[in-house]
């Protein structure tokens, strides 16, 4: 198979925005016609760093990565909208000249006129557009609105028209940046059909998207960019998997940093260098309205929750798969021995609905004594929650409800699930069907 696009160790610097050197760079631009090359390292920002790719003709190639990872810059380099600072891009065949659908539309004039202007901009002749006009309008499903000014279109209509023009220009290499996110279900399917048709005809498609399922199902190859560098390249399933596990790691780091920050914010200023005494509850009593209280920490401090950790089967984490084992571990301490204490826990979802709450008193455990440092742990055999972010209330208080140390919504964890079911609780379940009702498993993801 021949090569459609070859990217050879391409690097692109952008100028970091500063006015100080503006005049100097203008002068250098006037003299040499270049801006990026002669910038010092501290004045530049590396958008794409030494990227090499070979995209075979007739393949669907996916580009994934976080926002700001260099995907758009790479597209600009491939289409020739910007030039690389070093390296080379070789393109074989007519490439679609836009990286954002509908980029050339003028809001004041009608869809009809915009089709002509956009088409000519992308390299069609007037006759070619006339020939394809009805097809474009039909594909965009805009028959009724084609003579209305484009500014009256919804964003979905706008993108449909942009996509319709772009595919009917019929380039050898089609560039699609995040189109599947805006269309409704029906239009997304139509786009995928169009891609399949392009593929059949031996055309190359470059797909930038956050719809990772589409990448896995549809792409022959994929690349994962991170801070301008290639972090994964090759089989789309493998690349998507690498990307997802990287996201999970970053998410985990973020959640634990957040929890730590929240906990630190609730620690009192008074106290000495002794870490144990600084981690005291901030206020004596709970806020007036317990149920509307936002995150915080209060209590008398007779018993203190010093450290909290969440674990799945493999160790401490903030990320769980639905159905995972979960262990909540609290390190507690008390200065003098106490005989009246209750440990409690509640799980809240992101809307603030209590999904579950219990305490040792409700579970008929009568306290006898506690002294010094200790550990409390709650094992949840199977965390049967739907996907989402959850927060925990953890508390130790007297049996009458006088708080010793109350951690309100200070601990966050996230539940992930392959199945996007809804609600606040997922009962263990199985579907059953009589033999005349038949299904087959979707091959998604």
């Amino acid at each position: 198979m021949s090569t459609a696009i070859e990217v050879q160790s391409v690097t692109k610097f952008y100028r970091r925005y500063s006015y100080r050197r503006q005049f100097a760079t203008l002068k250098s631009a006037l003299i040499s016609g270049s801006l990026a090359q002669d910038l010092k390292p501290e004045e530049r920002f590396t958008a794409v760093a030494d990227v090499s790719l070979r995209i075979p003709q007739g393949s669907v190639f996916g580009i994934i990565g976080r926002n700001g990872s260099g995907k758009s810059t790479l597209l600009k380099l491939i289409t020739g909208i910007t030039k690389p600072t070093s390296g080379e891009v070789l393109v074989n065949g007519r490439i679609s000249a836009l990286i954002e659908l509908g980029a050339g539309f003028h809001p004041e004039i009608s869809g009809r006129e915009n089709i002509f202007i956009n088409g000519i901009m992308l390299g069609l002749s007037k006759e070619e557009i006339l020939e394809r006009f009805d097809e474009i309008v039909e594909f965009a499903e805009l028959e009724a609105f084609i003579d209305a000014p484009v500014k009256t279109y919804s964003s979905g209509m706008y993108m449909r028209l942009g996509f319709a023009v772009a595919v009917h220009v019929d380039p050898d290499i089609l560039i699609v940046d995040e189109v599947l996110a805006v269309g409704d279900e029906g239009f997304s399917l139509k786009c995928l059909d169009k891609f399949a048709e392009f593929k059949r005809r031996g055309k190359t498609i470059l797909l930038v998207t956050h719809a990772l399922g589409t990448v896995q199902r549809f792409c022959d190859e994929a690349v994962w960019l991170d801070e301008g560098m290639v972090r994964g390249y090759g089989d789309p399933r493998r690349v998507v998997h690498m990307y997802l596990s990287d996201i999970a790691t970053a998410e985990e780091a973020l959640l634990s940093a957040e929890d730590k920050k929240k906990l630190e914010a609730t620690v009192t200023e008074e106290g000495s260098d002794d870490p144990a005494t600084t981690e005291a509850p901030t206020q004596e009593g709970p806020p007036a309205d317990m149920f509307r209280a936002s995150e915080g920490r209060w209590g008398s401090g007779d018993v203190r929750i010093v450290e909290v950790s969440l674990e799945n089967g493999d160790g401490p984490t903030h990320l769980f798969q639905s159905g995972d084992k979960m262990t909540v571990r609290m390190r507690v301490t008390t200065a003098q021995s106490v005989d009246d204490f209750v440990f409690g826990i509640s799980i809240f979802n992101a809307e603030g609905v209590c999904c579950y709450g219990t305490n040792t008193n409700l579970e008929k455990l009568i306290p006898i004594s506690m002294e010094g440092d200790g550990e409390v742990k709650l094992d949840i055999e199977s965390l049967d929650l739907v996907e989402g972010t959850y927060k925990l209330d953890l508390a130790v208080h007297s049996r009458e409800g006088r708080p010793y140390d109350y951690h309100r919504l200070l601990h966050t964890f996230r539940v992930k699930s392959q199945i996007k079911d809804v609600g606040i609780y997922r009962p263990r379940h199985d579907w059953g069907f009589s033999s005349n009702i038949r299904f087959k498993r979707s091959s998604d993801d």
């Binding site: 020739g80 910007t82 202007i117």
Partner: protein, 275 residues
């Protein structure tokens, strides 16, 4: 096979050739500009006639009622004299203001579509030329109203003057549009510079009122030669005597165009990053 690399610099001539290849796009963008400008207004295209007429009325009132002593002696009808310079000046100044802003306003195109950027200032100049053409019938009506005798051999020069103005405006437009991307201050400066330029050009006053000392300075003002040419062709009787100056200006305009285009070409690669 296309190659986009650091060294893949196009020659200026091939950029010019590409421009000719894109004349269809230029044409359709000019039409779009004209359509979009008056879209939504009640009078629509009529504004192309009414605008210069209103401007003319303003200036006629100022110099007939408010400042009557300002006018030269041999300037009857004054409204017609004013019109000869005012119409081309409106084209010139709005074209420059619009093209200076054109790359920034069209930033979405430059950043998202592979698109020869010089088309944007060129469209700004050409669409304003169209407004100039649309307003010409008003000038013809004035000439008919005052029953001015027109010399056909003089009228032949009219398209030449228009062409030279076009080349000069294109050159300056390209230059300003490219510089404005890097120097946003130019946009604000330009409006005031143009006002100064307007009053230093024999448009509201005749060349004969310029004192002897100012004359040599006036010779360096390219638009003075254009204004004088329009006035000689359309207003003053007698043969067109300014043609030597006009042709010299023609040569200078071509030089300005080449300079403007070369500078634009030089800075081209920076536009997608800077707008």
């Amino acid at each position: 096979m296309q190659v986009f690399g650091v060294e893949a610099h196009e020659e200026m001539l091939s950029s010019l050739r590409r421009l000719i290849r894109h004349r269809g796009l230029i044409q359709i963008l000019v039409v779009r500009e004209l359509k979009a400008r008056y879209r939504g207004s009640v009078l629509g295209y009529l504004w192309s006639f009414i605008n210069p007429l209103l401007l003319l009325i303003v200036y006629t009132i100022v110099f007939s009622v408010v400042l009557p002593g300002f006018r030269g002696i041999d300037l009857e009808p004054y409204a017609l004299f004013l019109f000869c310079g005012l119409l081309p000046w409106t084209w010139f100044s709005s074209a420059l203001l619009e093209s200076a802003n054109s790359l920034i306003a069209g930033g979405n195109l430059i950043k998202k579509v592979l698109f020869p950027a010089e088309i944007l200032p060129i469209v700004a100049v050409l669409s304003n030329m169209c407004h100039f053409f649309f307003a010409l019938p008003v000038l013809v009506l004035f000439l008919a109203f005052y029953a001015r005798p027109l010399n056909v051999t003089e009228l032949v020069w009219f398209p030449v003057v228009v062409l030279i103005q076009l080349i000069l405006t294109l050159g300056l437009g390209l230059l300003l549009s490219a510089l404005t991307v890097h120097f946003r201050d130019l946009r604000d400066l330009l409006g005031n510079l143009l006002t100064l330029w307007f009053f230093s050009t024999p448009i509201i006053y005749p060349m004969s009122m310029v004192p002897a000392g100012g004359k040599s300075v006036m010779d360096l003002n390219p638009f003075a030669h254009l204004a004088i040419s329009y006035q000689e062709i359309l207003f003053y009787e007698g043969p067109f005597g300014h043609w030597r100056w006009l042709l010299a200006l023609g040569v200078a305009s071509i030089a300005v165009f080449i300079l403007g285009f070369a500078l634009f070409d030089r800075l081209r690669d920076s536009f997608a990053e800077e707008v």
